[in-house]
């Protein structure tokens, strides 16, 4: 990324071209066609700086952290803790110890369920989620309900894929102990009114978990402004490595929670009679963490921050409008998810063609999209479809990518004509 482009207020075609040069994966042929990568909601590609940073860590800095007195261990510890501070700045958390490194969004939500949930939620209590949740924000709560006798309440959505705030208000009650809602829907693109969701829950003294897996790569997130109590996201969906993710929690909550896993690093002292747990955040990071992953994630978010999240968001909104228009022109195509406040997700069904067939035909055109239920089976039931085809955008997506998608979908229609 050149300095000139980084300084421009708007991310235009030249800026995106420069960005694309940082992603080697985008420049390859698939089935003899140039790759058109539109599966960013599943995982984003990685810029070379991230790949190089992870390689450099393993090549020159590899050591275990928090223990060694030798130079490499000190360097690795320093890089790991600086990564935590990078994440803190990225989501605007108050303290670095409010950033816990986990494997991903899924583990983050399981952590909350099995620590906060097991100690604060009991029989007859209610946990509030929504129809548009990913399985990772459904199943951990169902498991908790089985363990505790608590009950899951589900906020319905409109046909456009928007959360029914009126129903949400109605569902919130004296029995509600926790609200866990997705910030941006992976299957619909809906950006939920999370500030209102938090405010309404807090008015009843109910804490809120936000699943930010599809948000952080596409918009600036400020957990203090949102005032959410927990925020979770995965590194690999924000240009970083797989296997690393983040759980943000307010200090007061994290301090009141028991540890998640027991082991090394999460203890202050151990004897067979009694173990004293370590301070935050280490209480929640048992065992050797994914050091390279955390360092790579920090590089990824620094890259994204240098481009500018606001510029990324504005650019992706332009692309979304372009893509919505392009796809709407295809006969028999119906978009799933037409919320007024939406991120770069184009989910659709076509009369008479199963998404899986579309996926195969598009793949042969070099167009990588996702087909299926997107780990949102209850949402698919609500939409009345077994599956959808989903194209998801990123900062390196171009109008030419959208054009290629449209052409490939038209070809699929011809095959099935």
């Amino acid at each position: 990324m050149s300095k000139v482009i980084a300084a421009s207020p708007r991310l235009g075609a030249a800026g995106v071209t420069a960005i694309r040069r940082d992603f080697r994966a985008l420049h390859q042929l698939v089935h003899g066609k140039p790759l058109v990568y539109l599966d960013n909601a599943a995982t984003t590609q990685k810029p070379q700086v991230v790949i190089d940073r992870v390689a450099r860590y393993y090549a020159l800095e590899n050591a275990n952290i928090h223990r060694g007195v030798h130079a490499l261990s000190e360097r690795a510890t320093d890089a790991y803790e600086r990564a935590r501070a990078s994440v803190q700045r990225f989501i605007h958390a108050a303290e670095p110890h409010e950033i816990l490194f986990v494997r991903g969004t899924t583990e983050a939500i399981n952590l909350i369920a099995q620590t906060y949930g097991r100690t604060h939620i009991g029989a007859g209590d209610e946990i509030v989620i929504s129809t548009m949740e990913h399985h990772s924000n459904i199943v951990p709560w169902q498991m908790l309900c089985e363990q505790t006798g608590a009950r899951l309440r589900v906020v319905p959505i409109t046909d456009a894929g928007e959360l029914r705030l009126d129903e949400y208000e109605r569902i919130l009650s004296d029995r509600t102990r926790l609200v866990s809602i997705v910030h941006v829907s992976n299957a619909l693109g809906t950006i939920n009114p999370v500030d209102q969701i938090v405010r309404l829950a807090h008015a009843r003294g109910v804490p809120v978990v936000l699943d930010g897996a599809q948000a952080v790569a596409h918009m600036s997130v400020d957990v203090q402004a949102l005032d959410c109590d927990f925020y979770a996201f995965s590194g690999h969906k924000v240009l970083g490595p797989t296997g690393i993710g983040v759980l943000y929690g307010k200090t007061s909550f994290l301090e009141a929670m028991p540890p998640y896993q027991g082991g090394g690093d999460m203890i202050r002292s151990v004897s067979f009679e009694r173990t004293h747990y370590n301070v935050l955040p280490y209480k929640f990071e048992a065992g050797t963490p994914h050091i390279a992953g955390a360092i790579g994630l920090a590089t990824a978010i620094e890259y994204l921050t240098a481009v500018g999240l606001d510029r990324v968001a504005a650019y992706e909104q332009e692309l979304l409008a372009y893509g919505t228009d392009a796809l709407s022109r295809i006969q028999g195509l119906r978009l799933s998810g037409t919320a007024s406040h939406k991120a770069g997700i184009l989910s659709f069904v076509i009369d008479g063609i199963h998404p899986h067939d579309i996926g195969t035909i598009l793949d042969r055109e070099g167009v990588a999209i996702r087909t299926g239920h997107h780990c949102c089976q209850p949402l698919m039931d609500r939409l009345g479809v077994p599956a959808t085809t989903r194209a998801s955008l990123a900062l390196y997506t171009t109008r030419e990518d959208i054009d290629a998608l449209r052409t490939a979908v038209e070809n699929a229609r011809e095959v099935f004509a």
């Binding site: 899986h356 067939d357 195969t360 299926g372 239920h373 599956a387 095959v415 099935f416």
Partner: protein, 147 residues
């Protein structure tokens, strides 16, 4: 596009549009099949005379490959014994998983699905109906999953 044309041959598209034996059979054996990868769900129904299949039918929703395969299968196994149907599944399975350049066994109309071998992720779609048929033959009521 040639491998795509192999996959989506006119016969397959026709069976997808107008699946044969697309109905329930009352009072016979049946089993449900599910492919979580793409959400294909189908039920296979059998009527038996001893161990001979006198009627085979299916219902459900799925991609073109799974629907066409189920449609072709119900035609193909009618009149066969359960052992013969099972042997046919073995040969069919071999056909759709063989190397792309391997010769295609003569399997009658089922041969139109040989193109699936060039699309390994679609093998499950093509074999879902057959796995479900096997379960129905054994009168297992449980849902069969390809995972």
């Amino acid at each position: 596009m040639s491998d795509l044309q192999d996959l989506y041959q006119e016969v397959i598209l026709d069976h997808n549009r107008r699946p044969r034996n697309f109905r329930a059979i009352e009072g016979g054996r049946r089993a449900g099949g599910y492919n979580p990868l793409c959400g294909d769900k189908l039920t296979v129904y059998l009527r038996l005379d001893g161990d001979r299949i006198t009627e085979a039918a299916f219902q459900g929703s799925g991609c073109a490959i799974s629907k066409a395969s189920a449609s072709l299968m119900t035609d193909a196994v009618k009149g066969k014994t359960l052992a013969e149907a099972d042997a046919l599944f073995e040969r069919f399975h071999h056909m759709v998983t063989a190397a792309p350049d391997a010769p295609v066994d003569e399997l009658g109309k089922l041969s139109v699905l040989a193109g699936v071998r060039q699309f390994p992720v679609r093998v499950k779609c093509a074999t879902l109906a057959w796995h479900t048929l096997r379960a129905a033959a054994e009168a297992r009521e449980a849902i069969v999953s390809t995972e």
